[in-house]
């Protein structure tokens, strides 16, 4: 329990740091993004929206501490201000939709990648030096050598454009109405397939190699050797003795790699015009929509943090040694 509590303390500090940085960055930015915005939107923004924007970008004259306090109070109410690119939508509403798409896409992709990657890694280690081990890990490593956006463009070009197997972008087609029915779900899956495949292929090798290497280490351990000597079934040894113990170190690297995958996923969204946070971020940058950018950054960092908490909780469940005792 202590383990979990101290971890939670750590995450609380990290969360606070993220929120504070998000507050400080626009206020410390060189140049004056706000004046540029004013110039661009003069006459188009209502006076009250302009005032809100000023406030948000730290252009009022209140002392920093007071601004900080107001910022925290606003966050607590889920108040992120108004978006400029999607004027007059509130940032929260815009992010909410993007967030759902990103979590849906990256969540599914990461899950597939973890399960397939660790599975392949474990099996390669189990058959170390065999044919499977000689072919699959190098092939996967080759795929991972490409950057996300490059892989995305290759897939888009061949599978989408040349062979026409999959739609070229967006989350669902222009003629299908969102709803819980077979037609729409099919549409959703076929649109999500290529972006998902990109993320899976690009992130697969991390899981595979971590798992393969720790698994090889674990298989040399005495309790695995003894389990063979005792005549336990190979299945039981593979699952409960070798894999179960090798999963623990893999899990730690999972938490650490998550940030990279999310950034890769955001790039992938841009290539496929997938309406998630990555795509929104691009739009926000192109239209200098600072409130939206801030909101997206905050959302992304907080969700990576949350995912790390979940991974830790899982570690806690899987490893009896972290559960305390004597």
């Amino acid at each position: 329990m202590n383990f979990l509590l101290s971890k939670m303390g750590l995450y609380a500090v990290a969360g606070w740091a993220v929120i504070t940085l998000n507050f400080l960055i626009p206020r410390l930015m060189p140049g004056d993004p706000a004046s540029a915005l004013f110039a661009r939107f003069k006459g188009k923004l209502k006076p009250d929206a302009m005032e809100a924007l000023r406030q948000q970008l730290g252009l009022n004259d209140a002392p920093l501490l007071k601004q900080y306090w107001d910022y925290i109070a606003q966050l607590a109410q889920g108040e992120f201000g108004l978006s400029i690119a999607f004027h007059p939508e509130p940032v929260l509403g815009v992010i909410k939709i993007g967030f759902i798409w990103t979590v849906g896409l990256s969540g599914v992709a990461v899950l597939i990648s973890v399960v397939v990657g660790t599975g392949l890694g474990a099996y390669a280690a189990w058959r170390q030096g065999g044919r499977f081990d000689a072919i699959v890990p190098p092939a996967v490593a080759f795929l991972a050598a490409f950057p996300y956006f490059f892989l995305a463009m290759i897939l888009l070009f061949f599978l989408g454009l040349e062979w026409g197997l999959f739609p070229l972008g967006m989350a669902y087609g222009p003629y299908s109405a969102p709803g819980f029915n077979g037609g729409f779900i099919y549409d959703l899956v076929s649109h999500g397939f290529l972006p998902c495949l990109t993320i899976v292929l690009a992130s697969l090798s991390g899981w595979l190699f971590v798992m393969r290497n720790t698994m090889i280490g674990v298989m040399g351990d005495e309790y695995v050797c003894l389990a063979h000597a005792k005549g336990l079934s190979r299945r039981r040894i593979f699952v409960a003795y070798a894999m179960r113990n090798a999963l623990l170190p893999s899990l730690t690297s999972f938490g650490m790699a998550l940030g990279f995958i999310v950034s890769g996923a955001l790039l992938t969204e841009v290539v496929f015009s997938y309406p998630g946070l990555g795509y929104l971020l691009l739009k926000a940058i192109l239209s200098q929509d600072y409130p939206l950018m801030q909101g997206i950054f905050l959302m992304i960092t907080l969700s990576v943090l949350l995912a790390n908490i979940l991974v830790d909780a899982l570690y806690y469940v899987l490893d009896p040694r972290t559960r305390g005792g004597r």
Binding site: Y223, L226, A227, G231, L232, S233, R236, D319
Partner: protein, 268 residues
């Protein structure tokens, strides 16, 4: 009756500069119900011999010659499935590093049940489990514990209890008491001796601890540099150790016993 006969057993470890011989064609035997002590300095090949007999040597180790007859059948030429049937029913082993020989993520009971399911095709009843723990003087609450919650000595005793589940005829103990303090060590050894009389199995007992061997064994085998340099009963060894290495061992032991001022010649 000969239970185990080792003839000309050689073991090598593959190294980048070719195979390095760790055991040089050794011979010895273990009779039914006998306690055989195997002593020798660190690196003399004791663990290697034990693993070769069980045929659980891991690469880069390999057996390069000889035979290991268990009840007349050669272990070294047995098929995989015969080996599986033989291990733990005819001979079982407790590893030198008991700290690493239990699965960290399974409670102790599960490790007993895994063995029972694999080899007996059924789970052990609670009464049977308690019986095995009683053998090694452990309390029942150990069953629901994970290995990390047990002391080194308790884990070592769990290892011994696990080796006894299928009532093997030969028990190989590789320094089962090195990690323990003297009191616990004596306690376990006495328990083991009582058990051995009760169930009448044989023990091949590997240790550096010559006093313990002299007290417990029917015969003692002394190894040095992969060779058996002497094999005799404790009393004979005490009376007239032939090999210089044995004399040295006994002398150092007596030095300790006499508080540092005795020499082997003064004793009889």
């Amino acid at each position: 009756m000969n239970l185990l006969t080792v003839r000309g057993l050689s073991v090598d470890y593959a190294t980048p500069n070719g195979p390095a011989r760790a055991v040089h064609g050794i011979d010895f035997h273990v009779n039914q119900g006998e306690v055989i002590g195997l002593a020798g300095e660190s690196g003399s090949g004791k663990s290697t011999v034990a693993k070769a007999i069980m045929r659980i040597l891991q690469p880069p180790g390999f057996i390069s010659g000889g035979s290991v007859l268990l009840n007349g059948r050669d272990v070294l030429t047995m098929s995989r499935s015969d080996l599986r049937d033989m291990r733990w029913t005819e001979m079982a082993m407790v590893f030198q590093s008991a700290l690493d020989s239990l699965n960290p993520v399974l409670p102790i009971e599960a490790q007993f049940q895994d063995l029972a399911i694999a080899r007996l095709g059924r789970r052990l009843a609670p009464a049977q489990l308690r019986e095995f723990l009683r053998f090694v003087d452990l309390e029942n609450r150990v069953l629901s514990s994970y290995p990390h919650q047990l002391s080194g000595g308790m884990r070592q005793r769990v290892g011994i209890a696990l080796a006894l589940v299928l009532k093997p005829k030969l028990l190989i103990l590789d320094e089962p008491t090195t990690a323990l303090d003297v009191v616990v060590q004596r306690h376990i050894l006495r328990g083991l001796q009582r058990l051995q009389k009760e169930l009448n199995f044989s023990i091949l007992f590997i240790t550096h601890d010559l006093p313990v061997l002299l007290a417990m064994s029917d015969r003692i085998i002394i190894m040095k540099d992969g060779l058996v340099c002497e094999a005799d009963t404790p009393s004979a060894l005490r009376r007239r150790p032939e090999h210089p290495y044995t004399q040295q061992l006994l002398a150092s032991m007596q030095l300790l016993e006499d508080g540092g001022d005795g020499s082997p010649e003064e004793r009889t």
